[in-house]
């Protein structure tokens, strides 16, 4: 059972070696040549740096993240149904369809609610 994951672990090792090797090699080959301290300054289109880059983040991004988590979890719930549907539909097509569509309908209610609340409007004033 776990045997099918052997290629995954091998790929993880390989990918880690490539990623680490690439960055490590360039650190080795390109080290110790920084001539001026000004070189390491944060880039701001050639202007003098005004303040830090650690800014507060607009709440819009958090709304997108929350909505994503809600819907993504629901999509994950649909995968087992999708895999089983074709076989199950041979004996009881009505139930298979009803189960899937009911789930999607519940999803759609939430979607319409968020739409009307303006959660998907980026530019307009939010009502959320």
């Amino acid at each position: 059972m776990l045997g099918q994951y052997i290629p995954v672990f091998m790929a993880i090792g390989f990918a880690a070696a490539v990623a680490g090797g690439m960055i490590g090699l360039s650190m080795l080959l390109g080290r110790g040549r920084i001539a001026y301290q000004r070189q390491t300054e944060t880039y701001e289109s050639g202007m003098l740096l005004l303040d830090s880059g650690r800014k507060r983040v607009s709440v819009k991004f958090f709304i997108v993240a929350m909505v994503f988590i809600i819907f993504d979890v629901e999509v994950a719930f649909l995968f087992p149904w999708a895999v089983a549907a074709r076989e199950a539909a041979k004996s009881d097509p009505t139930t298979v369809l009803a189960v899937g569509l009911t789930f999607l309908a519940v999803l759609a209610i939430g979607f319409v609610y968020l739409w009307r609340q303006g959660a998907f409007d980026w530019a307009r004033r939010e009502r959320v």
Partner: protein
């Protein structure tokens, strides 16, 4: 067990080499393609038709001074490009690059040309791993301590998660029609009937658009948007760390094109062609690469043909356009499957 491991390792090395070779070739195609579309020459000095140019560039980048800007969060700054490459190199292992056609190596049947040929959770693994790619971008944006980077990283993460939903729903339609999460079975299920792109045309369109958004390519490259954000999340990156981001972007393009071909366009099969042995293996691999090459060219073609979207347009298209479309596609496929239509 020993021979089995050797076969898996062999597949991993051959296919990973194929993927890594595709990156410089793709960079070259992109630059020459851009030049062709804009009626200029493009790189043509290094090697015949400038084909060695990307290799020369990567050697140069390898020897560039390794600069760590002041004020960055050191650990995350170094980790972010590594995460990007690491994730980009993990996703391709569940994609079947061709059909084994009964060829045996060391007494082991080759199976289909994919590394994790026994893995039952194929598509689920792919969706799970590819969504981790957001971490590379958002960590790069935040750890750089630069306003451009921060904005680029935030935009990219919001964009990636928005389009991931539509993508997953479009994939779900294919899974529903196939009844398996394995990508080689998705290919097998499409032989002998219409490719999924025809009965699930809506899902195909949604997937293509989402593929452009997921790889941060024009017209959805708001994360980089040179005219407003300089270079977006990798403003502060130079030398090989910058190259790592470029590499992961191009590898993601290869993977997503391969996935598109596998899910909707019959993968390595051609209708009416059934070959056996090594010939069949080589032909199926060539067919697959040919189909992928078309979509790679499409990426370049679209990049130099369409202007960039505004960010609110991007979000509107993702949430109000593609998500309902993908759901409609899913409902249609579900009805078809319940009615027992075999052509879906």
């Amino acid at each position: 067990m020993g021979a089995e491991l050797i076969v898996i390792a062999g597949k991993l090395i051959v296919l990973a080499t194929l993927l890594l070779t595709a990156v410089p070739v793709m960079v070259w195609v992109e630059r020459r393609g851009a030049a062709f579309i804009q009626d200029r020459l493009g790189p043509n000095r290094v090697g015949p038709w400038g084909i060695i140019q990307p290799i020369a560039d990567s050697v140069k980048l390898l020897f560039k001074e390794d600069l760590t800007p002041a004020g960055v969060n050191r650990w995350l700054y170094f980790l972010a490009p590594m995460i990007s490459v690491f994730i980009a190199m993990l996703t391709f292992i569940v994609v079947p690059f061709g059909d084994g056609c009964g060829v045996t190596i060391l007494g082991q049947p080759l199976g289909s040309l994919m590394v994790a040929s026994e893995l039952e959770v194929g598509v689920l693994y792919l969706l799970a791993i590819s969504s981790l790619g957001v971490y590379g971008i958002v960590l790069a944006g935040w750890s750089s301590n630069n306003k451009y980077s921060l904005l680029g990283g935030l935009r990219a993460s919001a964009q990636l998660i928005s389009y991931e939903l539509s993508m997953a729903l479009a994939v779900l339609g294919v899974i529903l029609a196939t009844g398996s999460l394995r990508l080689d079975e998705v290919v097998a299920a499409q032989s002998g009937k219409l490719w999924n792109a025809v009965p699930q045309f809506l899902g195909f369109v949604v997937f293509v658009v989402a593929a452009f958004a997921e790889t941060n390519r024009l017209p959805f490259d708001l994360a980089e948007a040179e005219t407003e954000l300089v270079a977006g999340y990798h403003v502060e990156y130079s030398s090989m760390k910058f190259a790592a981001f470029m590499m992961s972007e191009y590898m993601n393009m290869v993977t997503v094109s391969a996935l598109l071909v596998t899910l909707f366009l019959g993968g390595s099969t051609l209708p009416g062609v059934h070959l056996e042995g090594w010939l069949g293996l080589v032909v199926s691999l060539a067919v697959f690469l040919g189909k992928v090459a078309f979509f790679m060219w499409l990426f370049v073609w679209v990049r130099w043909s369409l202007p960039r979207f505004r960010y609110d347009q991007l979000m509107r298209l993702g949430w109000k356009g593609l998500l309902p479309l993908a759901t409609v596609n899913l409902v249609l496929v579900a009805v078809g499957v319940a009615r027992g239509w075999t052509w879906i």
